[in-house]
């Protein structure tokens, strides 16, 4: 299993790292930071919310780096844990499940699934703020 997983894993980590280290992410974050501040959302959590529906292993990798930097019991560590735990890898599941039976028209499934993720992410921010804010 490890040999199956490894190439994909490297590619995903490489993509995420290139994106964060090159400074693109910081640039985007600096643009939206004022909005996030209003809702008491730590800006470092934003990439997790974006990556989560795309890739489970990549978001786990990002959560890993949050834990390493701030510790799992910090506010951002708790928020990251809940965010990672409350939704699933939507894009991956949809492409895998529909691909396996040859469905070409997926109708509103992508929209509805991403909407569910959004509900989960918003709920996790509110709940973590209520519990430990």
């Amino acid at each position: 299993m490890i040999t199956n997983l490894f190439p994909t894993f490297i590619a995903m980590i490489l993509a995420v790292n290139l994106f964060t280290n090159s400074g693109v992410l910081d640039f985007i974050l600096s643009l939206i930071k004022p909005v996030l501040d209003v809702f008491k959302i730590p800006s470092e959590i934003f990439p997790l919310a974006i990556i989560r529906p795309i890739s489970g292993s990549a978001s786990l990798a990002y959560l890993n780096s949050i834990f390493a930097k701030h510790g799992p019991d910090s506010f951002i560590g708790l928020l990251g844990s809940v965010m990672q735990g409350c939704t699933d890898t939507t894009l991956y599941v949809i492409s895998l499940y529909f691909g396996s039976i040859g469905i070409k028209k997926i109708r509103h499934s992508m929209f509805a699934a991403l909407f569910a993720d959004l509900c989960g992410i918003v709920a996790s921010i509110i709940i973590v703020n209520l519990f430990w804010g």
């Binding site: 894993f9 290139l18 090159s22 795309i54 510790g71 844990s81 997926i106 929209f111 509805a112 973590v128």
Partner: protein, 193 residues
């Protein structure tokens, strides 16, 4: 489709590095990424192997089957198109039970079988049926009661209370699933008209 996202991320990263004259960082990132991924894989692998073993026990001992038998009758409410007693209901139930216990790797085979079973009921083989969409929306919205991977990751980083987040996860997941089901039912109605 998912692969395109990775390529876009890599391309944007490299392009931005070139534009900001930061090729040094790009180079070290490319080299370091392999090392980081290998280290991380070694960290995750033992925990993953443990949970996969536990799932296997739950499956072989018949626990998964028993729980999914209990769940199937409830599911007919969410999947009105599936005839009562159809095999796809119990496959969907098994997939959900595995997801609820945070056993993603056990859930996937059940999920794929459920999809091909739903395809047998589907009239137009190229277009997703209503039941398929409802199933996927519920599936991707989380459904996890015990987020095993996150608890293990928290343990690895020396959390004082690794399971502290369970309740918050359950509540958030509930809202995600609820939001998904509501929007799915609303949109499905619109498609019909």
């Amino acid at each position: 489709m998912v692969n395109i996202i990775w390529i876009i991320l890599i391309a944007i990263g490299i392009l931005y590095g070139i534009l900001t004259n930061n090729l040094e960082t790009i180079n070290t990132t490319i080299v370091d990424s392999t090392k980081i991924s290998l280290e991380m894989l070694f960290k995750i692998f033992p925990v993953l192997a443990l949970w996969m073993g536990i799932t296997k026990i739950a499956e072989v001992s018949g626990l998964l089957k028993k729980l999914s038998n209990k769940l199937s009758p409830l599911l007919t409410k969410f999947f009105p198109e599936i005839p009562v007693g159809h095999e796809s209901l119990s496959l969907i139930a098994s997939n959900m039970i595995a997801n609820i216990f945070g056993l993603g790797s056990a859930a996937t085979p059940f999920g794929l079988k459920a999809m091909s079973s739903l395809q047998k009921l589907n009239k137009n083989k190229k277009v997703a049926s209503r039941s398929m969409i409802t199933f996927l929306v519920i599936n991707t919205s989380g459904l996890t009661l015990i987020p095993t991977t996150i608890i293990s990751l928290r343990m690895m980083y020396g959390s004082l209370e690794p399971t502290k987040i369970v309740m918050a996860c359950i509540i958030s997941t509930f809202f995600a699933t609820l939001g998904g089901i509501v929007i799915d039912k609303l949109l499905a109605r619109r498609y019909k008209n």
